[in-house]
Amino acid sequence: MKKMLPETELARDERFVRSKIEDRIFDPRGARIAARNTGPAKMATDRPAAAERSRSLMHGIFVGEVQALEGAGRTCFDFDDTEAPFQLKLDMARQCWDESRHCEISIKLGDHMGTEIGEYTESTFLYSAACNPDPVLRLCGVNRALEGLAIDVFSTMKEFGDESGDPVLEFCEDWMLADEVTHVKMGSDWLRRLTEKDPERRERALEFQRTVDSIFNLGGFRGDDEENVVQLARRFRELAGFTEQENDSLSALARESTEQARQMAEMATAMLDAQSS
C-alpha cells in the first residue's frame, strides 16, 4: 500500500455521488437562489424548509465523518516513526475509533431524520486537508480547523434538536460534540509539542489552518451572525482550548466571507439580468 492516498482514490460504494466544490460555486442556479430573500440563514425551526435543510446538513455531517475517519487512518499509516511520534499515531488511532462511531451515529440519525446514504452529494475537500505531507500541518488543518468546525456544526444541530423537540438528535449531537472537543485539544497539543523549537513551521501550520478555515467559511456557512447557517460555538471552542482572540479572528473572517458571497451573488444576478434583457 502506498503512502499518501489522493482524494480521487477514496473508495466508495455505488450509493455515493461525488461533487466538486467549484461546480457548486459556479452553479448558474445558485445566484438566483441566493438572491431570494428568505430571511436569516441560521438553522432554526421557523426557517423555510428547516427539516430538509437539517437532513441535508446531517448527510453532510455523515460524509464529513467518513472522511475524518479516513484522514485519521491515513495519518496512522502515512508517516514513519521518525516523521510522526508514536504517541501522535496513538491519538490518531483513537480518533479513528471516535470517527467510526460518529459515522455509525450519523447513519442512524440520517435514518431517524428521514434521509439516506447518497441522497445528497459528497464533496471530498475535507479529506484533501488530511493529505498534507507535513503531519503538523495536517493536524492543524484537520484537528484545529475542521474539528473546530465540527464543534460549531454539532452545537448548532444540538440546539436545533432542542428547539424542534427532537431529544434523539440533541442527545447524539451532544455526545459527538464531546469527542470533537477532545480532537481539537489533540491538534493544539501536537502543534505546540512538534513546533516548540520551530516557530517557522508553527506559522506555516497556522497559516494552513487559516486557509482551511476560510474554505469552510465560504459563502458565510459558519459565523457569529444570523446570516450564517452554523453558529460559532464560542463556549465549546474555549473548552477545546481556542482563545477568545482566535474566535474573534474567525468571526471576522466569517463576516468577510459572507460579504464576499453577497457581493458575488449580486454580481451574478446582475449578469443574469443583463443576459435575459
Binding site: 500500500m1 492516498l5 482514490e9 466508495r12 485519521a72 491515513r74 496512522c76 499515531k89 467510526s100 462511531r101
Partner: protein, 257 residues
Amino acid sequence: MARPGADPVGPDRWIAPHGAFEGRNRHYLTERSSSRENAVVTDHTKARAPFAPWDRRELPGLFTVEDSARRVGNYKWAEMRLFEALGGWVATVPELDVKMVLGRHTYHHAWHSELWHKRLPELREMNPDRLTLPANDAFVTFMDAVREPEAPDLTIEKLVGVYRVLIPRFISAYTYHLNGTSRITDAPTIRSLKFALQDEFEDWRDGEMLIQSLLDTPEKIRRAARRQEELEQLVLASGGIAGPGSLGEPAQEESVA
C-alpha cells in the same frame, strides 16, 4: 513447642475435605497457611494466612525478565504495523461496514501497542524503541505481505490476511505467554495479555463474520484460501509473532537455532 495460634493439626493434612474450614478442626491447603489461624472478623490483629486457600498461583514461570521483554517488544512492533495498516486501509475499502469496523479495530491494536510500550521499561528496557523490533527478517516479509493490498477490490485479501492469519497468531502467541509465564512475578504482563486477548477474540470474530459475508461465490472462496495459504507459508517461515518458539515448540526452536 507450638506457637500460640499454631494449627494443632499440622502440615501433614494440607488438603482440606469439604467443610473442613468450619469450626475448630479447620485444615489448610499449604504449609504456610497452616501456621496461621484464620482471623476472626472481630479480631483485626490476629494473623491471617498470606495466601487464601483458593489461591493456587506458583512462583516459577517459563520466561526470564529478558525473555518476557523480548516478546513484549515483538508484540509491540507487530501491533504497531497492524494498526497502521488498518488505519491506512480505511480509505481504500468501499464497503461502509468494513470501513467502520477497521476504524474501531485500528484503535484496539494501537492501544495494545501502547500497553506493551508501557510494559517495556518495567521489564528493565528503559529505551522501549530498542526492543520494539520484529522477531526476524522473515516476520518483516510476512507483515509486508499482509499490508500490501491496496486496491478497492481487494477487501477479501486485506481481511483474510488480518483476521484469518495474523490475529489468530496473536491469539496463540499471547495465550502461550499467558499460560507459561509466572503468575506472580509477571502478573502485570498477564493483565495486559488478558486485555489484549479479549480484544483479539472479539476482533477476530468481527473480521471472520465480515469475511464470511463477502465470500458469496466459489471464486471468492478460492481467493480467500489462496491468500491464506500464501501468508501461512510466510508466517511459518518466521516462526510467528515472537519468532521460533512463539508457541513453545522446542523442537522447532532448536532446529532453527
